[in-house]
Homo-oligomer: 345 residues x 2
């Protein structure tokens, strides 16, 4: 592979000049510039990104921490991030923590600041302390789906109003006339579904509808299946089920089918987030969509800004700076086929 100096030699100039024309830095005469460009063409020169990274003190890559692939939401989000990163000139290294905080830490230890100049975090089951450490070391970190805009975390983030999402789901069910509703809430441990559930509960309370039965479940189809069965067995009169996520909602639909219940005639089902699967299930799942692509874009933009400013002011005024937060636009109800008016029974 040809190097910068080879190009320089070929063009009869010095490496500095070549570098200048390539990056539109400094002033270069029109004819010299052309000569350099020709040489680049002739030799098929391509800048060595690792070398450039070293010289510039910054690598053109971002690390994206994801927890697993079991939930199709993450790959979908990952691709959205890749697109956003690409338009900002970054490459993305995909770091699968596989739900293991240690694995996540190992990734951060290795590449944060040494191979990637920023870190994006999806719900990756990471140790927050590790994230603070990498931030303290000078590598910006952005959380991608912070669930409660009202309570900023200690790290920069893109917030999504998941409380509102839960509320919208609740309102939809109420409007349809449901009064006896069950709820499937994602695993308590991660606490990530708390806001969604809160919003849902608020909607019911405001409407004066009795609180729903709740069942916690793993964020999987199976988890939702089991939870829905339990819910329906303990209260066969339920006319609707709200799930804080799509996979459990899908599981609930399966459970309904196995119990001989028709969705939505006998049982309405609604979820949150809008993955491809939701569009393609039978019946298609009604859900509250969160603006995934927008979140990815906001996150990448925010990360870039943090990166930029971290190069500017070397840890200046760190203590006083407020932790930045961007809020994505509001979730939106997507009505499909899994919800309808309750059949009187």
């Amino acid at each position: 592979m040809p190097t910068l100096s080879e190009v320089a030699r070929h063009a009869g100039v010095t490496p500095a000049t070549v570098s200048n024309v390539l990056r539109n830095r400094g002033r270069v005469g029109a004819t010299t510039r052309q000569r350099v460009l020709d040489a680049v063409q002739a030799l098929g020169y391509r800048p060595h990104l690792a070398a450039r990274a070293l010289a510039e003190g910054r690598a053109p890559t971002l690390a994206l921490m994801v927890s697993s692939i079991a939930n199709p939401f993450y790959p979908e989000f990952a691709l959205a991030v890749e697109r956003a990163a690409r338009t900002s000139g970054h490459f993305v290294i995909i770091c699968n923590t596989n739900e293991d905080p240690l694995s996540g830490r190992a990734y951060l230890e290795q590449i944060a600041g040494t191979l990637s100049e920023g870190v994006l975090v999806t719900n990756a089951n990471l140790d927050f302390a590790d994230l603070h450490t990498t931030e303290a070391r000078g590598t910006p970190v952005v959380l991608c789906m912070w669930e409660r805009p009202a309570e900023p975390p200690g790290l920069p983030c893109v917030a999504v109003d998941f409380r509102r999402a839960g509320e919208l789901a609740g309102l939809h069910l109420l409007e349809l006339g449901h009064r006896r509703i069950g709820a499937i809430v994602g695993s308590k441990a991660s606490g990530i579904h708390a806001a969604r559930y809160e919003g849902f509960v608020d909607a019911l309370r405001t409407a004066g509808v009795p609180k729903a039965r709740v069942k916690h479940a793993a964020d999987t189809i199976q988890g939702g299946y089991a939870a829905a069965r339990a819910l329906l067995e303990s209260d066969p009169k339920l006319t609707a089920i709200f799930a804080t996520n799509n996979l459990p909602a899908l599981g609930a639909m399966h459970a309904a089918a196995d119990l001989g219940l028709n969705v939505p005639a006998d049982l309405s089902v609604i979820g949150i987030t809008d993955i491809q699967l939701a569009r393609e299930s039978r019946p298609a799942l009604t859900t509250v969509a969160v603006p995934t692509v927008e979140v990815a874009e906001l996150a990448v933009t925010l990360l870039r800004e943090l990166i930029e400013s971290s190069y500017g002011q070397q840890a200046a005024g760190r203590g006083t700076a407020r932790v930045p937060m961007r809020t994505a636009s509001s979730p939106e109800l997507v009505v499909r086929a899994s919800t309808g008016a309750p059949r009187s029974r």
Copy 2:
């Protein structure tokens, strides 16, 4: 961030020595080694990967080219690759071509050899010429799912016997007693489903069963849906449908449902590859699984070997070297609930 020389100074040795203990290169006295290790600890030193990449002339990253996310198979495979790469000490940069060869080329232009020392290619709709170019430039390329072991492509690859997969699907249907079978074959353009279909046809022919009706379809649920409807309308007596991929198979199940057909009582459906979706559809899809994880591992291993040898023999004997190919173990039938004996009608 502390540097190697800072560690060296702290430990009262030279950078070279630190480097040696860190990489277990050269001989270092036990006490010196300990002193260095202590300094590393004390300073919280972490090697700068970009700098190392430049010095070594090789980056610890692999590029994974994928075409899209519409088909959940790719993300699933991508994660398998990440796992395999990780155990071989590599990071993976995810390159989404988005079905656009130009986008793929841009990726290759930029990072092949300059930021990543190897390229893994899934069915990414790339221009083969671009791949050959990057290979000629000295960056090894490995194709991840070559479909016909009998006809090596011009590039190193991991082959999967998709012909056999099609055959297994056909045999399964035949064994169940089906004689009137429809086939949904993935888009002709990519030609990627040809082998699967061949195997299927061979199975029928060998059994003396009349050739099936064929319908081409996009590799999506919708595509399969439309194809299945067309198939069933043109021949309502079909008792089974074979699809060369999972998404169309799922679509066929939906079509059956809409036509009032019960799967598998009225219509059996079988697909190829085994994505998560297949396990969770209702009824669960019978399919022929290909060893995804194994393919990922073989691909990474092969790529590593190519990388290693490319550093050894600087383009030596390039012309004569045979293009290496690894073959993954045979596809296997996974019987689930979407296939059964044909109901006599």
